[in-house]
C-alpha cells in the first residue's frame, strides 16, 4: 500500500510538470491552430535561465521564478512576432515547420551558451518529508503547490477577466471573435506570452529536482502532446486532466510492467483517443 501511495505521489508531481507544459500548448493551439513543438524547449530554457540567474545574482529562488516568468513572457511575444506572424496567411504546414525551427534554434542557443553538460540548480529547501512509509522531497511539494497556484490563477484569468474570456472566445471561433471587436493580434501575443511564461515557471520549479540538460524538454513535450490530444486540443481543463492521467499511466506502467511500457502506455492512450474520440474528452464538436 505504501508503495502504491508513493507512486501516486510521484505521479502527481510528474503530472504537475506536464500540466504546465500542456496548458501552454493547448492555449496556443486554440488560438493559432499550431502545435508549438518548441514548448518543451521553452520549459528547458526556463530551467537554464534559473541556473543562469542564480549564478549571476545571489537572489533567492522566488525572485528567480518571478524574473524567469518576466523574461519568458516577452520572449514568447518576440517569437510570435518574428516567426509565426509572417506565416499567418501561408499554408498551415509552414507554421508546423516553423515551430520545429524554433525548437532547434532554442536548443542550439542553449547548447552554445551553456554547453551540452548537465547543470545543477539549488532549490530553496533541500529536506525530505516522510510519513507512514512514503517520502517526498520538499522541492516536489513545492512543485505541486506552485502548479496548483498557477493553475488557479490561470483559471481565474480565463473565466473571470475580460482578456481571458476573449481568449476563450477566440479559441472557440476566431471569425466570430473578430466580429465582436476582439483584437486578434493582441490576443495571439497574449496567448504566446502566457504559454511561454507557464513553460518557464515549470522549468524553474522542476530544475532543482530533475537533471537540467539541453534535451530535457523533449520527453515531457511528447507526453504533454499526448495529454493535450487526450483532453481535446484547445481545452485547458482537458489538458490538466490528460496530464495527470498520462503521468499516472507512465509511473504505474513503469512500476508494475517495465520502463519500456511507459512510453507505450502514454502513446497507446493517445492513439486510442485519436481513433475513437479524435476531438478528445473535453473537446466539443469537431
Amino acid at each position: 500500500m505504501a508503495e502504491f501511495l508513493q507512486q501516486l505521489l510521484n505521479a502527481t508531481v510528474l503530472g504537475c510538470v506536464y500540466c504546465l507544459i500542456a496548458s501552454g500548448l493547448t492555449i496556443v493551439y486554440g488560438i493559432m491552430k499550431v502545435p508549438n513543438f518548441a514548448q518543451g524547449n521553452l520549459y528547458m530554457s526556463g530551467a537554464y535561465l534559473a541556473f543562469f540567474l542564480a549564478s549571476l545574482f545571489n537572489c533567492n529562488y522566488w525572485g528567480i521564478m518571478v524574473l524567469v516568468a518576466l523574461i519568458m513572457a516577452p520572449l514568447g511575444i518576440i517569437i510570435e512576432h518574428l516567426c509565426f506572424r509572417p506565416l499567418r496567411d501561408k499554408p498551415h504546414e509552414n507554421s508546423f515547420v516553423m515551430a520545429l525551427g524554433v525548437l532547434m534554434a532554442i536548443e542550439g542557443l542553449i547548447v552554445l551558451a551553456f554547453g551540452g553538460e548537465y547543470v545543477e540548480v539549488k532549490g530553496p529547501w533541500t529536506g525530505i518529508l516522510s510519513f507512514g512509509g512514503i517520502s517526498i522531497a520538499f522541492q516536489r511539494v513545492l512543485v505541486v503547490v506552485g502548479t496548483v497556484l498557477v493553475l488557479c490563477g490561470l483559471y481565474y484569468f480565463l473565466r473571470n477577466t475580460k482578456k481571458g474570456m476573449s481568449l476563450e472566445a477566440m479559441s472557440q471561433n476566431k471569425e466570430l471573435a473578430l466580429t465582436l471587436g476582439i483584437n486578434v493580434d493582441r490576443m495571439t501575443m497574449l496567448a504566446f506570452a502566457i504559454s511561454t511564461g507557464l513553460a518557464g515557471i515549470g522549468g524553474v520549479l522542476m530544475a532543482p529536482v530533475s537533471a537540467v540538460y539541453p534535451e530535457m524538454g523533449m520527453p515531457p513535450l511528447l507526453v504533454a502532446f499526448a495529454a493535450v490530444i487526450f483532453g481535446g486540443m484547445g481545452s485547458v481543463a482537458g489538458a490538466v486532466i490528460g496530464s495527470f492521467l498520462m503521468a499516472g499511466a507512465q509511473v504505474f506502467s513503469t512500476q508494475y510492467i517495465s520502463s519500456v511500457a511507459s512510453d507505450m502506455a502514454v502513446f497507446g492512450l493517445m492513439i486510442i483517443t485519436l481513433l475513437f474520440r479524435p476531438q478528445g474528452i473535453m473537446g466539443g464538436k469537431k
Binding site: V34, K90, M104, V111, F225, D263
Partner: protein, 323 residues
C-alpha cells in the same frame, strides 16, 4: 537563346552529367574525402526523396521518416551481421520491413490530419527508438551495432573502392528519382496534388484519399528503408541515433533549403547543408542553432528554397528579355 539556356531539360542533363563525371576530375589528395562526402550526400538525398514524396507531394508532414530509415538500416544490418545474409537480400528485406512498418504506422495515423498526424508520427518514432534501445543483443542497445559489412559484390564487380561505391549509390539514387518522377507524372501524382490542396474536395470527386495517402506513405517508407540499408553498410556502424526523429528533422531542413516538392531540391538541399557543416566542423556546437535559424529565415523569406530562387531568377530574366 535565353529560352534554351533556361530550359529545364538542359539543366537536368548538365546536372546528371556533372554527377557522373565529377569523380574523374578530382585531385588525388582530397579525392577519397570528397567521394565519401558525395556518397553521404546521396544517402541523405534518398531520405529527402522519401520525405519529399510524402510531404512535398502528398502534403502529409511525417516525422517518422528517420525511424523508417533507421528500420531499414537496422533490419539489413542485423541480417548481415548476425545471420550472414547476402547484402542484397538484406537490402531488399530492409526496404520491405520499412514498408511494413509504414503500413502499421500509416493505418491509424493517416486518418488524422494536420498537426495530429505530425505528432503521432513523431510519437511512433520515439517508441521505435526506445524499442531499438531495449532489444539488447540483437540491436546492440544504446552502444549500437558495429562491424556492418560493406556492400557485397554483384557478379564479379566488387564495391570496395570508394569510386565504385560512389557510382553504386548514385545509380540507386537515379532509380529513386525515376520512381518518384514517374509517380509525379502519373494519375496518382495528379491525385496527390489535388489531395495536398484540398482533401475534402479531393474526396468529393471520388478519390479514395485514405488509400491514396497510405499507398504514398508505404512507397515513401520503402524508399527510406532502402536508403537506410545502404546507409548502414556505408557507415559500418549504427546507433539508435540513426533511427531517431532528428534524422527526419534534418531531412526536413535539407528539403526546405533545397526546395520542397521538387526533385532537384532533394539533392541541392543536402549538398549545401552538408558542405556547410563540413566547412564549419571546427564549431560543431553551432550546428543545431544554424539549422534552426536557416529554417526560420527560409520559411519567412524564401519558402520555396534554392530551387525557388532559380525560379525567381528565371522569371526575372524572361521579363528582362521581353523589354
Amino acid at each position: 537563346m535565353t529560352g534554351f539556356f533556361l530550359s529545364r531539360k538542359l539543366w537536368m542533363v548538365c546536372g546528371i552529367a556533372f554527377l557522373l563525371v565529377f569523380p574523374l576530375f578530382l585531385p588525388t589528395d582530397i579525392k577519397p574525402f570528397l567521394l565519401y562526402l558525395a556518397s553521404l550526400i546521396f544517402l541523405w538525398t534518398m531520405l529527402c526523396v522519401s520525405l519529399n514524396l510524402i510531404f512535398g507531394y502528398a502534403g502529409q508532414l511525417s516525422l517518422a521518416q528517420g525511424g523508417l530509415f533507421g528500420t531499414g538500416a537496422y533490419v539489413a544490418a542485423i541480417l548481415t551481421v548476425h545471420y550472414g545474409v547476402n547484402f542484397w537480400l538484406a537490402f531488399l528485406v530492409g526496404g520491405f520491413a520499412a514498408g511494413m512498418l509504414g503500413l502499421i504506422i500509416g493505418i491509424p495515423s493517416l486518418r488524422l490530419r494536420g498537426p495530429y498526424f505530425v505528432i503521432v508520427t513523431m510519437g511512433f518514432n520515439i517508441i521505435l527508438v526506445s524499442i531499438i534501445e531495449n532489444l539488447g543483443e540483437l540491436t546492440g542497445g544504446v552502444t549500437g551495432l558495429l562491424g556492418i559489412p560493406p556492400v557485397s559484390e554483384i557478379g564479379n564487380i566488387t564495391f570496395e573502392s570508394k569510386i565504385k561505391s560512389y557510382y553504386l549509390i548514385l545509380i540507386i539514387l537515379f532509380i529513386f528519382w525515376f520512381v518518384v518522377y514517374r509517380i509525379r507524372n502519373s494519375r496518382m501524382g495528379l491525385c496527390l496534388n489535388a489531395l495536398k490542396n484540398d482533401e475534402d474536395l479531393c474526396q468529393s470527386v471520388g478519390i479514395n484519399t485514405m488509400f491514396m495517402k497510405l499507398q504514398t506513405f508505404i512507397i515513401s517508407s520503402v524508399l527510406a528503408g532502402l536508403g537506410g540499408a545502404l546507409y548502414g553498410s556505408f557507415l559500418g556502424i549504427l546507433t539508435p541515433r540513426d533511427a531517431s526523429w532528428h534524422l527526419g528533422f534534418d531531412a526536413l531542413v535539407f528539403l526546405i533549403v533545397g526546395g520542397i516538392g521538387t526533385i532537384p531540391g532533394t539533392i541541392i538541399g543536402p549538398a549545401i547543408m552538408l558542405l556547410i557543416s563540413e566547412l564549419a566542423q571546427s564549431v560543431v556546437q553551432i550546428g543545431m542553432l544554424m539549422n534552426g535559424l536557416i529554417l526560420i529565415l527560409l520559411l519567412i523569406f524564401l519558402p520555396k528554397g534554392v530551387v525557388g530562387l532559380f525560379g525567381y531568377i528565371k522569371d526575372f530574366l524572361y521579363r528582362y528579355n521581353e523589354k
